[in-house]
Symmetry: C2
């Protein structure tokens, strides 16, 4: 299972009850946080995201609407007694800012904050069941996108077959990951006899803030679901370019060139109160486009 | 007129829809902001506080729940096209943090941010109609309280007398500040003949985060209204002391010793969902105590 839950879908200034950028990725049992605008910890409370399950946080760039909420989140995690490691990935100066903020507050986190500075494109995290890689996008300052990929998704347990074979439900989770079951009598029930093959691994790309550039499509080519910013409607293409952002149509073009299955658009400018036109315009170019709405979880197809 | 509007009344971790510390002072035509926890700019939207009228911001200390929302507010002010000066008062390292954050974002504010490092107790701002002074309180790190005083409150215009004397309503605001009126014929209508004397100047003290210490009462002695933190109920006096905070009863004791007219209590710990007991306990010691509730404006008596 791979899905993204939107916590903030607005650009720089909070408006119309929309919040600056933050997304939570659910990849099987893992949660990841991408970007962390001001108020993200409050949004997590609202949408019941369990902070304790987040072990990896990815920050795309150092414009405030993508990270001003992070210092609050990491200090709250400390106050709530976190002790497991937290991995943080972002542009190098991020850690200097935090060090200064923790030092002046005379605060020592009760857990390890392990900082991984983003320096080159490629795989940053590789574990048994997933990998995360980063790629450069084209913004006013250094800015990174991220790709999340399942490596070996879980097999599907056939509960009827498993029960008939005498396998207790408590063992189903281990069946998902390919184990055989041994009965009390020492008989082996093979995994393939009670499970169906795993689905194709899924992938999701987050392209952060970027001006229109077909190179982005190359970098995310073939992912199942793409989040692409769409700060403006299509009539403001010039303003978008000047501010290193994209329009609806440009986001949709990237999705089309990249050959993705589903497109999410977000990072809406505070000048818009209604969002309907965003979806309408993007769908003219890429029909399977969805607005990234706060509180909603989007499944990777 | 002197009043305080509460934007955040909670301590470190946002909980139960309560927010970290922030207060807006209205002193006649001036607005001041005291402390600026994460989400303050969103609270300002919610309670329709006009950011453009704020020219002075006071930060008591560098624990995150008192300033993590400030960088978002000052950058938003820039994005919204502010051009008038903004005066910021706080512990010296505050400006270094902001400089670093603005630099990595390649952001130049379109207005002057004038930083006034807090170094010694006494008057920090003195203008025609108000003054603001600061005093040290007793917290785990360097921490400051602030006193806001009217210097010369406006006189009260008697609209009937003024109208009979032929003074147009457009001139009433100038009457408030003591001007005489000259008729077209060159006759002088004296101010005292159409106005009543100004009320006694009012004062408000904000004592920030502090352990119980009667010296605080000395520093705020005689103000009309005092805000004093009350992080815990009275049964947690030991925990309060250990964390350099106060209980209900301790806050009320300070108000009593200081001889103030009205006490506001706030900075409630996230462990409490209901607040009724706070008011009840404090009122046993100091009857004119009120909970600092978000969105509510409290008049200085």
């Amino acid at each position: 299972m791979l899905a993204v839950t939107i916590l903030g879908n607005n650009s720089a200034i909070p408006a119309f009850d929309r919040h600056p950028t933050a997304q939570v990725i659910t990849l099987d049992d893992h949660l990841f946080l991408i970007d962390c605008g001001e108020g993200t910890q409050t949004q997590m409370n609202k949408y019941k995201i369990r902070r304790s399950r987040i072990n990896h946080i990815f920050i795309s760039h150092l414009h405030g609407d993508h990270y001003f909420g992070l210092i609050g989140l990491i200090t709250s995690m400390g106050l709530l007694g976190r002790n497991q490691d937290l991995n943080l990935y972002g542009p190098p100066p991020l850690i200097d800012i935090f060090k200064m903020q923790l030092e002046v507050a005379d605060t020592k986190l009760p857990y390890n904050l392990i900082f991984h500075p983003l320096k080159e494109e490629g795989i940053m995290v590789k574990e048994n069941r997933f990998q995360v890689s980063c790629f450069r996008v084209f913004h006013r300052i250094e800015c990174w996108g991220f790709i999340f990929e399942q490596i070996r998704p879980p097999r599907k347990v056939n509960p009827d077959k498993a029960r008939i074979a005498g396998i207790p439900a408590a063992f189903f989770d281990r069946l998902k990951w390919g184990e055989n079951y041994e009965t009390k009598e020492g008989n082996i029930i093979t995994n393939v006899s009670v499970t169906d093959p795993a689905p194709k691994p899924k992938s999701y790309a987050y392209s952060a803030d970027t001006v229109f550039n077909p190179l982005v499509a190359e970098k995310v080519a073939g992912v199942d679901m793409l989040y692409h910013e769409s700060t403006y409607l299509k009539d403001l293409e010039e303003r978008a370019a000047k501010r290193f952002h994209c329009t609806t149509v440009q986001a949709a073009e990237i999705a089309k060139i990249a050959g993705v299955k589903k497109l999410l658009i977000g990072h809406f400018s505070s000048k818009y109160d209604k969002l309907d036109e965003f979806e309408k315009e993007a769908r003219e170019v890429f029909p399977n486009t969805h607005l990234a709405l706060e509180g909603v979880s989007y499944m990777v197809p």
